[in-house]
Each structure stands twice: as structure tokens, then as C-alpha cells.
């Protein structure tokens, strides 16, 4: 009797340990309806730092990209076009580059110029905080800093529905 109880306790402990180990590897993702985690990171061009909080009051499109990710490279020129379609005091695009070698990203931006700031995060601390699951991933954040939409991947046809979402958020005046 004692032996059976001992075995079942040990079994339960082993099961709990295994579950704990598995759960320990899962990151919690920032999702729709949640406050976007704040961050400040050095700018890729070395000018200043890039901070999400500095753009509170505007609709922000936060894009995680890397020079080794083909869909990311497709998205950059299209996001630049999107940026020009909205007033800069209402809408802001922020990018976080996750290249382990930021020089690769700088070289890409020399060829493909964009007018929005890109932070550099080679250690991947910011994507870790946001719990991103694919590259690229983008977050549409409202004026109060709440995530309204999460966009995974990027294809050419994605811009039109994105523009509509941004338009709706820009039209919402509550701060």
C-alpha cells in the first residue's frame, strides 16, 4: 500500500516536472486588446533611440523585420508607401530590426530607403517581450497603446486591408 502510494507520488512529481519544463519553453505573446510592451532601443542609423512610448497619441504600426527574411524585404517599400498616405502627426511606423549583424540591415536600407525609424535589437529582447511567432510580425497599436491587430507574414496584397484598418483607427479620435 505504502509502496503504491510512493510510486504514484513519484509519478505525479515526474509528470509535474515534465509539464513545468514544457511550459517553461512557451513564451506568452502580446495579443489583441493588450497594452503593447514599452521599449526603447538604439536606432539602426545611429542617430537617436527609438521608443514606442514617444509616439503615444498616434496610431503606430510596429514592424519586426530582418534582412535575411524575404517577406520582410517585400514589406519595407510597401510600408513606406503606406506611411506617406497618412498625416505624420496621426500615424507612425516603427520598425525593429533583429539582424544579428546590424550592418546587413544598414546595407539593405542604403538601397531601399524608408522614412520611418528602425531600432536595432540583435539580441532579440523586444521580439521576446512581444512573443512573436513568425517573421515578419507587425502590430497595429492604437493611440492609447493598445494592440488592435497582429499581422503575421507579408504578401503584396496585404497592404489594402491594412490601409483600411489604419484608416479606421486614425479616424477614432479618443486618446
Amino acid at each position: 500500500m505504502m509502496g503504491r502510494r510512493f510510486r504514484s507520488r513519484r509519478g505525479a512529481a515526474a509528470l509535474a516536472l515534465a509539464t513545468g519544463l514544457l511550459l517553461g519553453t512557451q513564451a506568452s505573446a502580446a495579443g489583441v486588446g493588450q497594452k503593447a510592451p514599452e521599449f526603447t532601443a538604439p536606432a539602426l542609423d545611429g542617430a537617436k533611440s527609438v521608443s514606442l512610448g514617444a509616439h503615444r497619441g498616434k496610431v503606430v504600426y510596429l514592424d519586426f523585420w530582418a534582412s535575411w527574411c524575404p517577406p520582410c524585404l517585400t514589406s519595407l517599400p510597401q510600408l513606406e508607401e503606406l506611411r506617406k498616405q497618412f498625416p505624420s502627426d496621426q500615424f507612425q511606423i516603427l520598425a525593429v530590426n533583429v539582424d544579428q549583424d546590424p550592418e546587413k540591415a544598414r546595407k539593405f536600407l542604403e538601397r531601399t530607403k524608408v522614412g520611418y525609424p528602425s531600432a536595432t535589437d540583435p539580441k532579440g529582447r523586444i521580439p521576446e517581450t512581444f512573443g512573436i511567432e513568425t517573421m515578419p510580425t507587425s502590430f497595429l497599436i492604437d493611440r492609447r497603446g493598445v494592440i488592435r491587430y497582429v499581422h503575421h507574414g507579408f504578401r503584396k496584397g496585404d497592404v489594402a486591408p491594412l490601409r483600411e484598418r489604419i484608416q479606421k483607427l486614425v479616424a477614432t479620435r479618443d486618446k
Binding site: 532579440g124 521576446e128 512573436i132 513568425t134 517573421m135
Partner: protein, 72 residues
């Protein structure tokens, strides 16, 4: 004593398993390099796959995608 040894023996692989870390999406920098692809030449891989399919009358096992970035 024996029970303790057995328990430790069972716990050790579990602890070792916790050391296996998944590559996060933003960490695929090196994996996405063309020289890290299973098949460096995509066209050649597709052609070989097609020949295998025709000759063996079976579905090819391997894919012929790009690098390991998981994003395309």
C-alpha cells in the same frame, strides 16, 4: 536507496531535455543563409525530385524550398 537511484535516473533525462532550446523566429539569421539550405540549388532539387517521381512512381520525400528562415 534503490528508489532514489531510479528516481534520479528518470529525472536526469528530463533535465537534459530542458536543455534543448527551440530556435526563435528572430534567431534564424544563420539558418536562413543559402548555404544552410538542404538543397543549395532549388531548380536542381526540383528537377531531381521530378525525375525521382517519374522513375520510382512514388511521391518524392523531400521538399525543395529555400533556406531555413521559415518565413517563405
Amino acid at each position: 536507496m534503490l528508489r532514489l537511484a531510479v528516481s534520479l535516473l528518470l529525472a536526469l533525462p528530463l533535465l537534459a531535455a530542458s536543455g534543448c532550446a527551440a530556435v526563435k523566429p528572430w534567431e534564424r539569421d544563420v539558418l536562413a543563409r543559402p548555404d544552410m539550405a538542404w538543397e543549395p540549388d532549388t531548380l536542381e532539387a526540383k528537377r531531381n525530385s521530378h525525375i525521382r517521381y517519374s522513375k520510382e512512381a512514388s511521391l518524392p520525400g523531400g521538399g525543395a524550398g529555400g533556406g531555413g528562415c521559415g518565413c517563405n
